[in-house]
Amino acid sequence: MSEKVLMKGNEAIGEAAIRSGCRHFFGYPITPQTELSAYMAKKMPKIGGVFLQAESEVAAINMVYGAASAGVRAMTSSSSPGISLKSEGLSYIAAADLPCVVVNMVRGGPGLGGIQPAQSDYFQATRGGGHGDYHLIVLAPNSVQELAYLTAEAFNLSEEYRIPAMILGDGTIGQMMEPVDFDLIPEPVYAQKPWATNGTEGKREKNVTETLFLEPSELEERVFEREKKYDVVRENLQRYKSHDTDDADIIIVSYGLTSRVVETAVKILRSEGIKAGAIRPITLWPFPEKVFKEVHPKAFLSVEMSMGQMVEDVKLACDCSVPVHFFGRTGGVIPTPDEVVNKVKEILKEVE
């Protein structure tokens, strides 16, 4: 049997990234993700990697841009306000079709907000975040083990599709400790990178990383090409977990930490004979819309640590075929299982 270790979520990301071949980390501290930078600062020098604390978030993401352009596995991490600063750089990286992994351990917002866990960056993450027509692959783990797993996946998927990937966690997932087994994470799968700006050695034409196209038809053509890639991802990459959906009168949709609150709530509801089920999107972009066509509850309930963001994707995914309700806490407040149970009972009273 392989060895389990007890680790904080933020540290598990660092270890998983290193095992996935990441040797370039560009950080800037912010609560609640600083343990990841600290882990990389400790480990990278010992394995011949680069840890660099940049002068700002903007600098860090542009260092990732440069490193990714040269074809290496590069990473940066931050929390909400810092991700806003990185958004311009993310748009450039997406426009240059470069792979990289960005971690957002979300805290309450808007503005500087607070430092407690939140999910109020869902729109920002799933709609790209910066300017222009682009997407990130967005992965939402709900345990420390899955955090490690999806970090490794993020590097592989990002390289396979040449789309930047984001791990969207929250303060709690980053701060909590759970046992994690690194033998269970995917092996690195390295893509060929004929586009990398890593030196021609006089043997080939030079590669250029660029995002400026002043001729509208040329820019449109590039956006069209990228959209074709997004369509493939939309078709192939939808991931989710569901349970108790077959006979469910109500299906609760939630991701990340909130899905664990919902897990407890569903157990309570089932023990009281209430037919509740759950869908947990693991990819937030692409949103796992297919599963919503396969289930037939009387209502959906989206539970989030926000004022209602993913609920819009639930409405789109089910074509509003049944009522879609929302329950959320925000600003760093975590919903309790009892609150979710009460909301479900309230909704079912209306439905019946």
């Binding site: 007890l6 609560t31 407890t264």
Partner: protein, 178 residues
């Protein structure tokens, strides 16, 4: 009792998080499911600190403990904050060196330990957390003394192995008082 939903709470600097880590690590060695969640914030020595530990045979849902069956309170604000959340029939451990009131509820088991004074007598006030841990082990049977000693040896880094002995002395002292 081998499972539990535990809240450990006190001042920053009392080793609240460490006490939780020992329980979490012991659970991992036993092959249990567990979660350990610290409070985090702009806090410093002397501020409040608490930590939620869940130990179970089944997958753990929410890692946030809202109804603990074990509360360890190492200062008065912690007892004030969490006393009412403890499940009926649960345990409340009170460091009476630092808390000058009794538990108001009569539907829980209460254990008063002069932990900080005892630790001071042992030569290090910082061991009050280990004294509390010892009393918790005795009252709840969640782990044996040997399991905790084994956990400390396995979880502490080499540079801190020398502390196992003094920690265990404090644990045993707390154990003997219940």
């Amino acid at each position: 009792m081998k499972n539990g939903e535990v809240i450990l709470a006190g001042f920053g600097g009392q080793g609240i998080l460490f006490m939780g880590k020992i329980l979490a690590f012991a659970a991992m060695i036993e092959g249990k499911k567990l979660s350990w969640l610290p409070s985090y914030g702009p806090e410093m020595r002397g501020g409040t600190a608490n930590c939620h530990v869940i130990i179970d045979d089944n997958e753990i849902g929410s890692p946030i403990v809202t109804r603990p069956n074990i509360l360890v309170a190492m200062n008065k604000p912690s007892l004030d904050k969490f006393e009412d959340t403890v499940l009926e029939g649960g345990y409340i451990f009170v460091d009476k060196s630092l808390i000058d009131r009794n538990v108001k509820r009569d539907d829980v088991k209460t254990i008063y330990i002069d932990a900080t004074k005892i630790a001071d007598d042992l030569g290090n006030k910082g061991l009050a957390n280990m004294v509390m841990l010892g009393s918790l082990l005795k009252a709840t049977d969640i782990f044996t003394i040997d399991e905790i000693e084994d956990t400390m040896k396995k979880s502490l880094p080499k540079s801190k192995q020398a502390l196992v002995e003094s920690n265990m002395k404090a644990v045993k002292e707390g154990y003997s008082l219940v």
